[in-house]
Amino acid sequence: MIPTLFGITVITFTLIRLAPGDPTAPKVGDTGGGLNRAEFAREVQEAKKKLLGLDKPIPVQYLTWCAKLATFNLGESYSKKRPVGELIVESLANTLKLDIVAIFLAYLIAVPLGIYSATHRYSLWDRISTIVLFILYSLPTFWIASLAIIFLGGGGGFADVFPIAWLSCTTPDRHPFMGESLDWAWHSFLPIACLTYPVLASLSRYSRAGMMEVVRQDFIRTARAKGLSENVVIFKHAARNGMIPILTLLATMLPLMVSGSVIIESIFSINGMGKLMFDAVMERDYPVVMAVSSLSAIMTLFGILASDFLYVFVDPRISFEKLQA
């Protein structure tokens, strides 16, 4: 894990520095006043490079970054002049809450849906759900989110059903009767819906496929033959085996939870990780880019590890003891 992580950070570090653009370049061609503008602007830029430590060779900069990381110092954002850790904490809380709820909901709906479709294969309901889910899957989130903003946001004569920005009310119009969590739930309804439906659509297909794989196997026929009730056959014998691929997918979603969605966050003006990373990349705010991408990398690695552990619990055929033996 450590070497992989090392590799990822080296590549990210190199890539972002190889990208054109320079955080010290005078912004928007602004070289200020003065008689020798171009020359002076260059001087100022050199001074800024030195101040930010960007005058040193890239490997040295990388090592400095690693040394700081070892003491849990993620550096300071170039533009905001605030510790990166602080910025991440602010954004991560929002992103995590949204994504955990969205993924939980997606699983809650997708798994039973998939099982039902698999056990009632080619029934009318299976066909309908297949079509609906494929349509959902192919609808771009930005479009759905925009439609939601137009038709549910209260502008232009449409009903004002849901708030269309942020995760809480602005100061003067805070609803005194609405508790903080209710306020949050109301504000995050649209973002969560937009985050949930594409995941839900793909997950339910995976869960259907996983179940179909299992239900036609011999041990299911045996279970039925020995007179077990259909519920026991499906939920105890088939589902536990059929859901294994779904668990692996959960692991791949772990990094998504921390990296957030730049589209949804921008549309609903949410201070989240996706937005933080996107703005940092656009501004070449290296410390923020490095911190967020490393965090995603760590979460990916942990996700893989976690899914391996989960197998042990779900799949009776895999266990640590056997490996040792």
């Binding site: 200020g32 008689l35 002049k81 004002d160 921008s266 003006s269 703005d279």
Partner: protein, 577 residues
């Protein structure tokens, strides 16, 4: 000068910089018959203004991105500038009512300029107070300067404005002397800059810690970053700033200048244009700038809610867009070719079809709103025949019959570079490409992400480019963009324009302290540059904006738009004092 394309990229920089005015001045509208509800008495009963229970005296506007840093020394993004302008005052401000001449703001009188034109002695107001009650003194002004120029302070953008300053000195508690290294007539932006910070707050703080200063223990804002809640002395102070969400400014009741009418300014940070427009349509915003004029012209113009509650204002900002020709390329060295290309660029058609009439022709490097531009210049008309003749005359003929003009074995083909996701650039380039094809010139189009685009133009790796400039100063020095010395070292004259006569005039203007005479020189420069066509000057876009009817916006400034600060005639209807 700033790149205006950045403005386009960020969707709405200047939009946020705010700007509009009540529909009272119809003369501002060049779009006859397109004016929405203008003028007339306000029917109090018919307008909706406090849907969310907000105070009537609160002005609600939006910012399309989060302001990054409200410390006036460190800040470098436009949205921060918008907010900082309310919380801090520069020494002098441009007077929108008096031809944009400087007028004292923190200073109490105009500067005394020494015989050698290098020293400015500036008296400071004795009644100015920081929001915490401490008096603002000359020492604060000097301290601000010291922070800007300190190498450990990350103030690159401000530093470049002080390139020719030798020192700032406090002569006594209320007098500052600014000494320049050389005499320089375009000094106004030095005096107009917000760079005064409270010395008493930063006592004993090292320059490194100045960058990320947090209020110390014991202070009522202990632990809060100065960049989020700066202590200032302007007409407003920060009451609340929740990053990526909202900023609330409240009027400074101890402000030494004339008190603004608006008690609170509430900025909503809305990163999505569609969402911000929905906020407008449901009555949660008091002002809105249409970045896509089509949205106004095709949709909101006929929206009953908007017509009932908002007044339309059309005005110009000091921004222009251009196509630059890289004169290191052989084909663009010939003035006749550049003129021919200008004749092939159907700007009037572009303004009519793409901008829907919300723009005017640009006739040179100076903003039409200020007195430097020569308004007698006639824009070059769309004239393909004249262009063909010029191209023939310059020796560009199709000798091998392949439909492309050539000269000395070289074909007339070039690449047109522009920033990506720029609807204006896309429309213009397609239009031009089509016209050039008919003329026997092959033009390819390349769109680049902003950082990459900026890198390429400063390395002069382009043939032609589409971009824009925004002036921040009514007394603009075109030296940066058109003096031949600025074509090296990544300077802003990346098209490598060189005309000894223009160089001479640019040099002369910088030493001419008489505004009238200087403006005459600028007009001369304007004529010469338009004649040389280093750029195909395209257009000044019009700002299409609406303001809630309960406000009267006064005259919008081409620099700031309209502004609720005192001195801009921004009033609450029915409550004028």
């Amino acid at each position: 000068m700033k790149h205006a394309t950045w403005w386009v990229r960020k969707l709405a920089v200047l939009a946020a910089a705010g700007s509009l005015l009540t529909g009272c001045d119809k003369k501002n509208s060049s779009n006859a018959g397109q004016t929405a509800s203008t003028g007339g008495a306000v029917d109090e009963a018919s307008i909706t203004y406090d849907k969310l229970g907000r105070d009537r005296d609160t002005f609600v506007r939006y910012l399309p991105a989060n302001p990054d840093n409200l410390n006036p020394i460190i800040q470098r993004d436009n949205y921060s500038t918008v907010v900082i302008n309310y919380v801090f005052d520069p020494l002098y401000d441009y007077d929108p009512k008096d031809n944009f001449l400087l007028k004292p703001l923190l200073a109490s009188a105009m500067p005394t300029i020494s015989e050698d034109k290098k020293s400015f002695t500036i008296p400071i107001r004795k009644d100015a107070k920081w929001h915490d009650g401490h008096p603002v003194t000359a020492h604060d002004v000097v301290f601000g300067y010291e922070m800007v120029v300190h190498p450990k302070v990350d103030s690159a953008q401000k530093k470049s404005y002080y390139a020719d300053v030798e020192y700032f000195k406090a002569i006594d508690d209320y007098t500052v002397e600014i000494r320049m290294k050389k005499a320089y007539a375009f000094y106004s932006n030095i005096l107009n800059m917000n760079a005064t910070v409270p010395k008493h707050l930063f006592e004993g703080v090292s320059p490194e810690d100045f960058n990320n200063f947090k209020y110390p223990a014991g202070h009522k804002l202990a632990g809060t970053a100065y960049s989020i809640n700066p202590l200032g002395f302007g007409a407003y102070s920060v009451e609340r700033f929740e990053p990526q969400k909202e900023i609330i400014l409240v009027r400074n009741e101890n402000y030494c200048g004339p008190k603004p009418e608006i008690r609170k300014i509430h900025f909503l940070i809305l990163t999505d244009t569609l969402a911000s427009r929905q906020f407008l349509k449901r009555g949660d915003l008091d002002s809105f700038n249409y970045n896509v004029t089509r949205q106004y012209d095709m949709e909101d113009k006929n929206d009953a809610y908007i017509n009932r509650n908002f007044n339309l204002t059309l005005y110009y900002k000091s921004v222009y867009f251009y196509v630059g020709w890289n004169m290191q390329r052989e084909m663009f060295k010939d003035k006749r070719v550049r003129l021919a290309l200008a004749k092939l660029c159907d700007v009037d058609g572009f303004i009519k079809q793409v901008e829907l009439g919300y723009a005017t022709r640009c006739i040179g490097p100076y903003s039409k709103e200020f007195s430097q531009a020569d308004l007698t210049i006639k824009p070059i008309a769309f004239d393909p025949k004249g262009a063909y003749a010029l191209l023939e005359e310059a020796g560009w003929k199709d000798t091998d019959g392949d439909g492309i003009r050539d000269k000395g074995g070289q074909k007339f083909e070039f690449q047109f570079m522009m920033p990506s996701k720029n609807p204006r650039g896309e429309a213009l380039s397609t239009l031009l490409q089509e016209e050039l094809k008919k003329a026997g010139i092959r033009m390819t189009i390349r769109a680049l992400e902003w950082n990459a685009f900026s890198e390429e133009i400063h390395n002069q790796k382009f043939d032609a480019l589409f971009s824009g400039w925004a002036s921040t100063d009514p007394d603009d020095d075109a030296y940066q963009i058109f003096h031949s010395s600025q074509s090296k070292e990544r300077g802003s004259n990346y098209v490598s324009y060189a005309n000894p006569k223009v160089d001479e005039l640019l040099d002369a203007a910088r030493l001419e302290f008489d505004r009238e005479k200087r403006n005459a020189l600028c007009k001369e420069i304007n004529r010469l540059i338009y004649d040389d066509q280093p750029y195909c000057f395209v257009m000044h876009p019009q700002v299409v904006s609406v303001l809630h009817k309960r406000f009267k916006g006064g005259r919008p400034s081409p620099l700031l738009g309209y502004d609720p600060r005192a001195g801009y005639d921004f009033k609450i209807v029915g409550r004028e004092r």
